[in-house]
Subunit: 338 residues, 2 copies
DNA sequence: CTGTTAGCGCTTTCAT
DNA sequence: ATGAAAGCGCTAACAG
């Protein structure tokens, strides 16, 4: 591996000139720039990350703490991870992956100056990582909205509004009684903020619209789904029967039509369904789901932008909520006549 | 952040002594060790990663290139990722996450000395990353078995044997005609090595055991599954009817019982099923699947071990195959009498 | 517009 | 068993 001084020698300039050509931090004559660049590519030079970080206090690496918990939907998590990694690359950053069970990870990577900033996923209402992060004086952004962000930036999808839009859509279609199928009990129990907010947004929207409603946590298996549907529809098909479903549980969406068919319910004739899920799960079916899409790419990108902002400028801490949009597809319609 | 020389001063020793008590690379009197350690923890010292990597040519970071492709089962990928990260931590390494679409990622992280070694997932038979990796002269291990590893270490689950064990189990139970439901067409098309090997292992095992067999690629949706089952069972329930299924497609397992029930087939009375899947998907159901478990933790751990071996010793390149084991649970039985 | 140079914080000879 | 000191390769004053 050639070093910067070899490049300098080859180009007939000083190392600082090479450094400045590479960083663009001061003006360079066209002539020298060319020579340097030629030398760089001829020698196949690339800067030593450690040396750079030692001299500049910048590692060009972002830490990403991603949950690998049993109750989270890994494929959704993966989408966020992918989004963060690819957004980071646009800012010339790499991503160091930390997992929740590496308790001292936050302190380690930051005290060793391995990362310039941190992004934390799967935030809980009173997440114990927040005070530790806040102490750190490194740019950090939470994907999620905790009770107290302690001066950290936050970004998330507006899950509350997502539920509300879904409910309003069902109300507009004339539904009177709707149910919410949400995250696994464990997610609720630990107050993962998306789970809480989606559920409470639903509840409130139903109150506002005067709809009858019920909320149900559900695991990811078809057995779990069966149980929940049983609860929801067991009361018979009378006047107050549930005719609309909002499903915020990515794992269940693919099984839902079949499960409903199994209890004699057809979509959307007997029951309308709005999914709250990444667009690809909503459109995976031949008869795509009416859905509020979770824009993972956009959220991941925003998170990276926000760390970079705090790293490069004195932009203040912000809280960004990504607003939901409803895509009406094939799974919602007016409720059945009784 | 305190530096090593501050620690040295506080402990009344030289920086080299501090360095040596931290690395254990030379013997230190009990007395000095204590003093140094006391200073370290009192000041909350932790070494600057960049400085260390500059001086020692070690970053203590492993690169992990993980696929985020549409046709791979993300939750399985995530299990491997998690396994690699947690194994890496046991060797005091962190993990830098690279994605497939970051084409120059391999060269970047290695030429900048950001990583000490690389682990590459989701290997294809003639993976274009392999020659690039091989050129690098950095320890690298492939999770998968390409046609030509070009001198790189490989580790993987023995998918061929996994299929064989499954087939033999069905044959032993008396099944005469079996079918294989495998990876999505796209995985086969690009010759992801696990997909190829599982399929060809199945085929060969059937030939060896004299069983009638058919192979089917399948996407991850219940519609895909429906189609495949239709193909398999449409020919009626005659003499040569399929009575055994080997399913190597994690996404489908949870939907399988219901889908079979939908066409009037009950498990294991009408059809026996062996899953090839991570243990948690096999046991997620109330009636757990007979399965050959994919030991993601073990594979991830082996991959890390192998990079570290090549990093720290002159152990030769190896190829490790993790052998499969069958767990008979509730979904296999003798075929129905006709 | 360019060069000189003093570190950044650590590891590791070489001495003792 | 310990210390002194020479780098590792880069950045960013400072000096022209």
């Amino acid at each position: 591996m050639p070093t910067m001084s070899e490049v300098a020698r080859a180009a007939g300039v000083s190392t600082s000139t090479v450094s400045y050509v590479l960083s663009g931090k001061r003006s360079i004559s066209e002539e020298t720039r060319r020579q340097v660049q030629e030398a760089v590519s001829r020698l196949g030079y690339s800067p030593h990350a450690g040396a750079r970080s030692l001299a500049s206090n910048r590692s060009n690496v972002l830490g990403l703490m991603a949950p690998l918990r049993a109750d989270v939907n890994v494929s959704v998590v993966m989408q966020f991870v992918a989004a963060v990694v690819s957004a980071a690359r646009e800012f010339d950053q790499d991503v160091l992956l930390l997992t929740q069970d590496d308790a001292e990870g936050i302190e380690r990577v930051t005290s060793r100056s391995m990362v310039d900033g941190l992004i934390m996923m799967d935030i809980e209402a009173a997440d114990p990582r927040i005070p530790r992060l806040a102490k750190l004086r490194k740019p950090a952004v939470l994907i999620g909205l905790p009770d107290d962000a302690q001066g950290l930036s936050c970004v998330d999808f507006d899950f509350a509004s997502a539920s509300k839009i879904a409910v309003r859509h069902l109300a507009d279609l004339g539904h009177q009684s709707v149910a919410f199928i949400g995250s696994p009990p464990a997610s609720l129990a630990r107050h993962a903020t998306y789970a809480d907010r989606a559920a409470s947004g639903f509840e409130q929207a139903c109150r506002d619209a005067g709809l009858g409603c019920s909320l149900h946590a559900s695991g990811a298996t078809s057995a779990d789904l069966g149980e929940v549907l049983d609860h929801i529809f067991r009361s018979g098909r009378g006047d107050s029967a549930v005719t609309g479903l909002v499903v915020h549980n990515e794992a269940l969406v693919p099984m839902l039509r079949e499960a409903l068919a199994g209890i004699g319910l057809s979509v959307p004739d007997d029951v309308s369904v709005v999914a709250v899920a990444p667009v690809d799960v909503a459109t995976a079916s031949a008869r795509p789901w009416t859905a509020v899409s979770i824009p993972a790419r956009e959220i991941g990108r925003a998170a990276v932008e926000m760390v970079m902002d705090r790293l490069n400028s004195d932009k203040p801490v912000e809280l960004r909520l990504i607003l939901p949009a409803l895509d009406v597809r094939t799974t919602t319609a007016a409720p059945p006549h009784r």
